[in-house]
Amino acid sequence: MNFTECLGLPCPDPEDYGAYALYMQRVAEMVEAHLLAQQELATTFDMPRTTIWNNDEIIGPIDTTGFASLQQTSSDVVFSNVQPPFPFPLNGLNIGTNPGTFLEPGIYHIGWSINTVEVGAVTNDSLRRANCIIEKNVPGGPLIVAEFNRAVQAENIAGGSFFGSEGTFVVDEDFGDYVVQITWLHGNVASMVQIPVGGYWIWLTRVGSVEAIEVV
């Protein structure tokens, strides 16, 4: 009895003739197992965990006091191939399983886009800013592992100030300790500022593994 080099499929010798049927069954079952494994890998490749949110209610208005949390809720999920959708603890957007963890290590891509609109008068050239901070909870306090922030200056133009940012980051084996915090603030002293319905988008997708590609 010999076995193939890579998959270990049995290759009977001439004296094994009486057991050919058994060997064929074994080969069939092993081939099926390997094909199923390949199918699962292909599906994983084709379906990176991805969620898109868009707010379905007005956010704010807020004054110039400082950073406010930019939260999405489960009703803001416009697409998710992760079920159930990621939960949203009170202090910002936390992505992953309860109580706010990522589902697995890997390289992730996150992006966001917002439109800030003044309730009243516009203070020309005043600040509009949003921060997207990836944190890892470690002893002694959260550690910032990545930031995708953006600041613009507003003008008195109908429609609001549109801006966003995006980037990739790595979540390690301690994926349960990672959270995403998104906050915003403005310097429009002339009036408060809000984000209208549909004015805040955020998306997250897992790009792949951090393991080095092995060439064989």
Partner: protein
């Protein structure tokens, strides 16, 4: 009566059954078909739908949101773009797409704002705005990216609007790109 594996139905003889050439042939041909099918599936996954079109001159009337019309196809492996309808991608394969747009406004006297946005089926999804410039020159350039979930037949467009003085403005260096991230199905 031969047996078969439970999922893919690979046939095999029972113990005691004579293993004649036809049994070997069924066995081999079934595996051949399955492996070929898997190779076809994987090849399809590697060939993600993607398209990129550009134009370098789009008239922009002041304070009027204008849909950019594209004239050059850099690539389009899924038939999303047609020169007969040059202002849009039409989604052929449903899925989540990463859409990217670029564009600069020039030929103005003074620029108060320049905004470009991604529109799906005529509805703005996300946008980016730049403010204030005093020279036409190379113009005010901006870009943005975002993910949108698309059904078959959905349209994706790049629109721009500017305010200021002078003009008519010209949008230059415009591009519209999209590639598929994943299907719309849920991971089981």
């Amino acid at each position: 009566m031969p047996g078969a594996t439970p999922v893919f139905g690979i046939p095999y003889p029972f113990v005691g059954e004579v293993v004649d050439p036809s049994i070997w042939q069924d066995f081999a041909e079934t595996i051949d078909g399955l492996v070929n099918g898997m190779e076809t599936t994987v090849a399809g996954l590697l060939d993600r739908p993607a398209a990129w079109v550009t134009t370098n001159s789009q008239a922009m009337v002041i304070n009027t949101e204008t849909t950019v019309s594209f004239s050059s196809i850099r690539y389009d492996n899924d038939g999303m773009f047609s020169l007969g309808t040059p202002t849009q991608f039409t989604v052929v394969t449903p899925g989540v797409y990463l859409v990217h747009i670029d564009g600069a406004i020039s030929d103005f006297a003074t620029l108060t704002s320049w905004r470009i946005g991604v529109f799906q089926n005529g509805v703005r999804k996300f946008a980016e705005r730049k403010n204030e410039a005093t020279s036409g020159g190379f113009g005010m350039q901006t870009s943005l990216s975002g993910l949108i979930a698309c059904q078959v037949g959905d349209t994706i467009q790049h629109r721009g609007i500017w305010t200021g003085t002078g003009g008519p403005g010209t949008a230059v260096g415009c591009s519209l790109q999209a590639f598929r991230i994943c299907p719309l199905t849920v991971i089981s």
